[in-house]
């Protein structure tokens, strides 16, 4: 099993969710986050005061998937989240040791 963390542009969230649902991913967790990468920030001007905003708002999508759907899932995210412009985000993939469904006590791929 793999754990996917994708940092994407906020307005791409719906498309990513739909793309993941389409390939059978049962659930995702979404968090509003801030950060910086190559896109960098921007400056805001309030009367005479100028502030550099380093951290831009992004959305973090987390999903746990079985190994056999990993490539599909990554492709789905990559395609649906892309605009081709700087700041599209990144996808991180980690090994996932265990999953437990709290209600039933199922474990492993049964719990995905």
């Amino acid at each position: 099993m793999k754990f996917i963390t994708a940092i994407i542009k906020p307005f791409k969230l719906d498309e990513v969710r739909e793309a993941l649902s389409a390939i059978g991913v049962q659930g995702i967790t979404v968090t509003e986050v801030k950060g910086f990468g190559r896109q960098k920030g921007h400056t805001e001007l309030y009367r005479g005061a100028e502030y550099v905003v380093d951290f831009l708002p992004k959305v973090k999508v987390e999903a746990a998937v079985d190994d056999n759907v990993l490539d599909q899932a990554l492709e789905a995210i990559e395609k649906s989240a892309a605009t081709g412009k700087i700041g599209d985000g990144k996808i991180f993939v980690l090994d996932l040791e265990q999953v437990i469904r709290i209600r039933t006590g199922e474990t492993g791929t049964d719990a995905l």
Binding site: E44, L45, R47, A49, Y51
Partner: protein, 442 residues
């Protein structure tokens, strides 16, 4: 006053008959005295409009500009200072400002409004037309209230609440009241000098702007000023506040005519057009100089235009008002940028840059655009050079008086309770530490 003989020239509230005239004069006057229902209705409406300028107009305009952790402290300071000054105005302010005394301050004859009854009358700009004195007192009390509330923007986000109140009482008593008497009171020094200040450019705006600037210096900069982001937490509320100020300002300016006459209509139309011109001027200048016209700029421009037209609204024509508004938009933008950096004070919400600078621009330009050749209401013997000097002198007197009294008032507050909250409280925010509540819950 001899130079101008028109409506505005009467920009004086002459003493009230009961004060000095004696029984004979009063009887003679009573013969022809008229109280018009329209005037009474208008002045009470105008009073409510000025109240709305402060609460919630000014409170929201300022509140949106601070960080979320200090939102309630600003709303609270505006509300309490307004209330405090209004009450003090009833206790002794009205008497000291609007009874005859010396050229610099009135008498204590009407302390606790003694002698004022439901039948008492106050003068208007027409000899035999009067207003119920209660209505006039209430109208003026709102001016006293909002002037004190304007100052709090300068030292927002770091001043101790008790120090704010102590400062407000002292400054109201020894600065607002004397300047008010000098400009509007019977026998007032600047009034007799011929200064034109229809609705309070010197009394309210320059006065408050200077007190704010002195406060910004004395209270010191906010922790992290220039390093941390102190971006406004809600420009939406700031825009709502600025718009409420604009609407309320019709009571402030047109109400200052006291009667519902053509003079009120002149002040009314000027308040509309000068402000619209200032909104566009500020936005245009920002677009040209900074690349983008901002909502905060448009709202700031509205307030700058309102401030600048305040002294002029009864004595200039609509086209003069548009020029005054346009210039105030440009100059106040400089006031919150170049000038602010030169002054080096953390005037948090630009009380000086907008109200002080806008007030000075308006006061001086009043002397220009009151000229009949420029559409103003000045008489044939109007002398622009002389009037501009008189206006400038009234500005200088106000600046010096307000600065000195403000300095002493802050010093006293500092000695009694200390001006600033401790560093930890400033970092946590005044809402929680001073008032025990939060503006927003997530």
């Amino acid at each position: 006053m001899k130079t101008i003989h028109t409506l505005l020239s009467a920009s004086l509230l002459v003493g009230l008959p009961a004060v000095s005239g004696g029984a004979l004069a009063q009887e003679a006057a009573e013969a022809a005295v008229e109280v018009h229902k329209g005037d009474v209705a208008w002045i009470m409406t105008a009073t409510l409009l000025v109240l709305m300028m402060a609460l919630p107009g000014l409170a929201l305009f300022y509140g949106g500009l601070v960080r979320a952790k200090n939102m309630l402290s600003v709303l609270m300071q505006v509300m309490t200072v307004f209330s405090l000054n209004a009450l003090l105005f009833a206790v002794y302010g009205y008497s000291l400002a609007f009874t005859e005394g010396t050229p610099f301050i009135g008498s204590l004859d009407k302390v606790f409004l003694s002698g004022v009854t439901i039948d008492s009358l106050a003068d208007t700009f027409t000899d035999n037309v009067k207003l119920p004195e209660f209505a006039f007192i209430a109208f003026q009390a709102t001016f006293a209230g909002i002037t004190g509330a304007l100052v709090v923007g300068a030292f927002a986000e770091r001043m101790k609440f008790s120090a704010v109140l102590i400062f407000s009482v002292i400054w109201f008593t020894f600065c607002y009241l004397p300047i008010c008497h000098m400009v509007w009171g019977p026998g007032g020094y600047l009034l007799e000098d011929g200064a034109l200040d229809f609705a309070g450019g010197t009394v309210v705006h320059i006065n408050a702007g200077i007190a704010g600037l002195v406060g910004a210096y004395m209270v010191g900069k906010r922790i992290g000023f220039g390093r941390e982001s102190m971006a406004p937490h809600s420009l939406t509320l700031t825009m709502v506040g600025a718009s409420l100020l604009w609407v309320g300002w019709f009571g402030f300016n047109a109400g200052s005519n006291l009667e519902a006459t053509s003079g009120a209509a002149l002040a009314f139309i000027n308040t509309l057009f000068a402000t619209a011109a200032a909104v566009l001027a500020w936005s245009l200048a920002e677009a040209l100089l900074k690349g983008k016209p901002s909502m905060l700029g448009a709202a700031s421009g509205a307030v700058a235009g309102l401030v600048a037209i305040t002294p002029a609204c009864g004595s200039v024509g609509p086209m003069g008002a548009i020029v005054i508004g346009t210039l105030s938009g440009f100059i106040c933008l400089w006031g919150v940028n170049g000038l602010k950096h030169m002054l080096g004070a953390d005037d948090a919400l630009d009380v000086f840059g907008v109200h002080g600078v806008g007030g000075i621009v308006g006061a001086i330009l009043t002397g220009v655009f009151a000229a009949p050749a420029l559409g103003g209401t000045g008489g044939e013997d109007f002398a622009m050079g002389a009037q501009v000097w008189i206006q400038t002198w009234s500005v200088i007197v106000t600046i010096v008086w307000s600065a000195v009294v403000a300095f002493i008032a802050y010093k006293i507050a500092d000695i009694l309770v200390g001006l600033r909250v401790p560093e930890e409280e400033e970092r946590e925010g005044l809402d929680i530490t001073a008032h025990g509540e939060s503006a927003y819950r997530s």
